[in-house]
């Protein structure tokens, strides 16, 4: 009998079957008066409509935030949120920031050394000195 790991209940893994985008909501905050919101207001007027149409799975909220710099906040399925300040940015730069929030996984930024992370049991099993190929001294 080979050594076996402890059996566990299956956990949902997004993308193996169905795929759900991790970003569920984007909040756009702007100020009508302040100059740092000029690019943001232009983005909201001209580009946000097309972006919302292309991404129907993302809820989009636009609300004023007077006397503050413009901010885009992304809300994710894992419950976290990411905020990006877009003061004095051009509409094209803001579009890049929006794309960044859209594609993001919502996890905290971490530096990882290993490319593969797995929750599966080892396919070939764990080596055991007591099983198979025993040699007498």
């Amino acid at each position: 009998m080979p050594v076996q790991g402890i059996r566990s209940v299956t956990s949902a893994r997004n993308g193996v079957g169905a795929f759900i985008l991790q970003c569920k909501r984007l909040d756009f905050h702007y100020c009508d008066w302040a100059g740092s919101s000029r690019g943001m207001v232009s983005f909201l007027k001209h580009q946000l409509n097309a972006f919302a149409k292309q991404n129907p799975q993302i809820e989009i909220r636009v609300s004023p935030r007077p006397h503050k710099h413009p901010v885009i906040k992304g809300h994710y399925i894992n419950g976290r949120e990411k905020a990006v300040c877009v003061r004095n940015l051009e509409p094209e730069q803001i579009f890049q920031k929006v794309n960044l929030l859209k594609q993001n996984s919502g996890e905290k930024n971490k530096r990882t050394k290993k490319p593969v992370t797995s929750i599966n049991d080892s396919v070939r099993g764990i080596w055991s000195p007591y099983h198979g190929g025993l040699k007498s001294v």
């Binding site: 193996v16 795929f19 993001n104 593969v116 599966n120 396919v123």
Partner: protein, 239 residues
């Protein structure tokens, strides 16, 4: 054709350009095949009627949507639009399977789960189904939700059996699909640089972005499947 060239860059840059003169060694032919390409495939399907701004501006009738030509790529999945269908690889010779492989392959295919050592840019990644793969680079021209098929692998195995490639397996022997989940980034790195006899420290910052993938499928094709796809059994009387 555009998505094809994009994937060629992403997967096998040197080998894809080669005119492949020697196809007898089937184990050394590789070809990238994307299952669902990016949104930038407008070049393949030109609209049938040329766009004219004057007519649209003057008439109050809603303009007829330009009809797109159906591409010649084989339709394998109904839920994927026609311009995003995978491009079938054009192999010139059928897959040759030796007698020994034919006799031992059922043992591998029937024993699940499988692992695979897939190579991407000549780096090996040991993958099983459901694994997370964070590539050490940002893959260009992919969007979240896209499905890629890895076509180069050196090992494919189960608990007791392993199929080894020399150096790589023929891509028609297995299927390995991954889904693009999104783009991840690392915390800001700050590198302090100094020069001698200069009381000044430069702070160089960098923040790399990485593509997140998830393995959807690792499958060893069975003998029946290989034969249905036109594999030829090699006679090994010489040995």
């Amino acid at each position: 054709m555009f998505s094809r060239s994009v994937l060629a860059k992403a997967f096998a840059p040197p080998l894809e350009q080669v005119a492949r003169p020697s196809l007898t060694a089937t184990s050394t032919t590789f070809r990238a095949c994307l299952h669902q390409s990016t949104t930038t495939t407008s070049a393949t399907n030109p609209p049938t009627e040329p766009l004219s701004a004057t007519v649209r501006a003057q008439s109050s009738i809603p303009a007829v949507q330009p009809t797109f030509q159906t591409s010649t790529t084989p339709v394998t999945r109904a839920d994927v639009p026609a311009d995003k269908q995978p491009i079938a690889p054009a192999f010139t010779t059928p897959l040759k399977v030796s007698q020994s492989l034919l006799s031992t392959l059922p043992q591998l295919t029937s024993q699940k789960p499988h692992y695979i050592t897939a190579h991407l840019h000549d780096r090996p990644y040991l993958l099983t189904e459901g694994d997370d793969l964070r590539l050490p680079f940002l893959m260009p021209n992919v969007a979240p939700g896209d499905v890629l098929r890895f076509n180069r692998a050196s090992l494919l195995g189960s608990r007791d059996f392993t199929l080894k490639g020399s150096p790589y397996l023929d891509e028609r022997l297995f299927e390995c699909r991954v889904r693009v989940l999104g783009v991840d980034s690392e915390p800001l790195r700050v590198k302090e640089k100094t020069k001698r006899r200069r009381r000044h420290v430069q702070q160089i910052t960098s923040k790399h972005r990485y593509t997140l993938l998830r393995v959807m499928e690792v499958k060893a094709k069975s003998v029946e499947e290989l034969q249905r796809e036109g594999a030829i059994v090699e006679e090994e009387a010489k040995a």
